[in-house]
Subunit: 124 residues, 4 copies
Amino acid sequence: MTEPADSYRETRNALRHFVAERDWAQFHTPKNLAMALSVEAAELLEVFQWLPTGSPAELNDEARIAVRHEMADVMNYLIMLADQLEVDLVAACKEKIAINALKYPVSQVRGDARKYSDYDKQKN
Amino acid sequence: MTEPADSYRETRNALRHFVAERDWAQFHTPKNLAMALSVEAAELLEVFQWLPTGSPAELNDEARIAVRHEMADVMNYLIMLADQLEVDLVAACKEKIAINALKYPVSQVRGDARKYSDYDKQKN
Amino acid sequence: MTEPADSYRETRNALRHFVAERDWAQFHTPKNLAMALSVEAAELLEVFQWLPTGSPAELNDEARIAVRHEMADVMNYLIMLADQLEVDLVAACKEKIAINALKYPVSQVRGDARKYSDYDKQKN
Amino acid sequence: MTEPADSYRETRNALRHFVAERDWAQFHTPKNLAMALSVEAAELLEVFQWLPTGSPAELNDEARIAVRHEMADVMNYLIMLADQLEVDLVAACKEKIAINALKYPVSQVRGDARKYSDYDKQKN
């Protein structure tokens, strides 16, 4: 793997240091990290659970901080998992956007929620 | 908000373009994006579901590609959500690592799974 | 544990038979079952992802069948997990409703989404 | 829909009463209920996150109570969602077990984790 881009690299290094200091690598199997990531994603979702749309106007200060922290938790687990499995996140994102551009052609899905859902259902 | 760092910014711009072309912003409320992120996190988890640890040696080529793509999906939704709620992901990650460093002091949690779990339970 | 109530018991027995025939008990640790349950819950959520409210009128035949099957998957993993950890699901549901009745007093939360959210946030 | 079986029916009625008293039906769209169910499934998963297998011996009293309560939360949301979408949970579980029995033939998957995973991957 090529080195991850700049800002990821710095965060990755801070996380490596955090884990090494605590001798927690033994608990950080890819399976456990994917599980932790999923738990944090649900904690992020919980903030929006009973809100109409979750727009900034609907979020009070406490919710805004919670969103920020839960997003960071998801991101940090994502970076630790990428580090272990040697996934280049930036390249993977770019690749997936290209795949989705082919999968959802503008001419067929533009502004169409129904089509969007149907395309997604085919995925499964 | 200050502009997000380099590599995020490029991906964010590609995602903005992807969404605008399809006129999908109308579906991308923060609540819906958090939901989609959570669904993708579960699709990532699914790859590891019945594996012992998910180490690279346990992943065949198909699983490796799936992991890469599901991680990209999580990341892309995270970037779109950060864009809408004006969260600086890099700064948030750094901030959360500092918070966790105080919450889990090396001297008390080093190599200790039980303590780790107990600390996490207090969180809830 | 007392025997689970009637309809649960029958499903539990069918699941025990299904697992035994395939010699899959070795994969069904409580941790793996909780993970599988969470993955199925996300597959259920995925059906509603881009819909406004998920009311019956918004669900086509395909979505209706998907909802039914994903709910069954969640329920089946819940019953298998309860079987292993000797949890009486019917009693636990009753108990949790009583706890929530005290936690969310009618006089304070009636028809109030904001209060509802705030109460939930205190939980974490 | 035929009336749900006995023990479900009682819990469903208790939940209907709980929601009506608080005038919370307005927040309980199927989409929101599926989201809440998914959040509770993740809270259940969180208990097992750093444990080796989650066997009863690994769970202290606090964890045991948490598991019981989170399972009840999942179950209660499942029953409320089934009530709104008129899904007969007992029948759906039975149906899904029959479908899986055909999908995973004993002769091909017996005791085989790899096959199990591969079959699951085909699903997606």
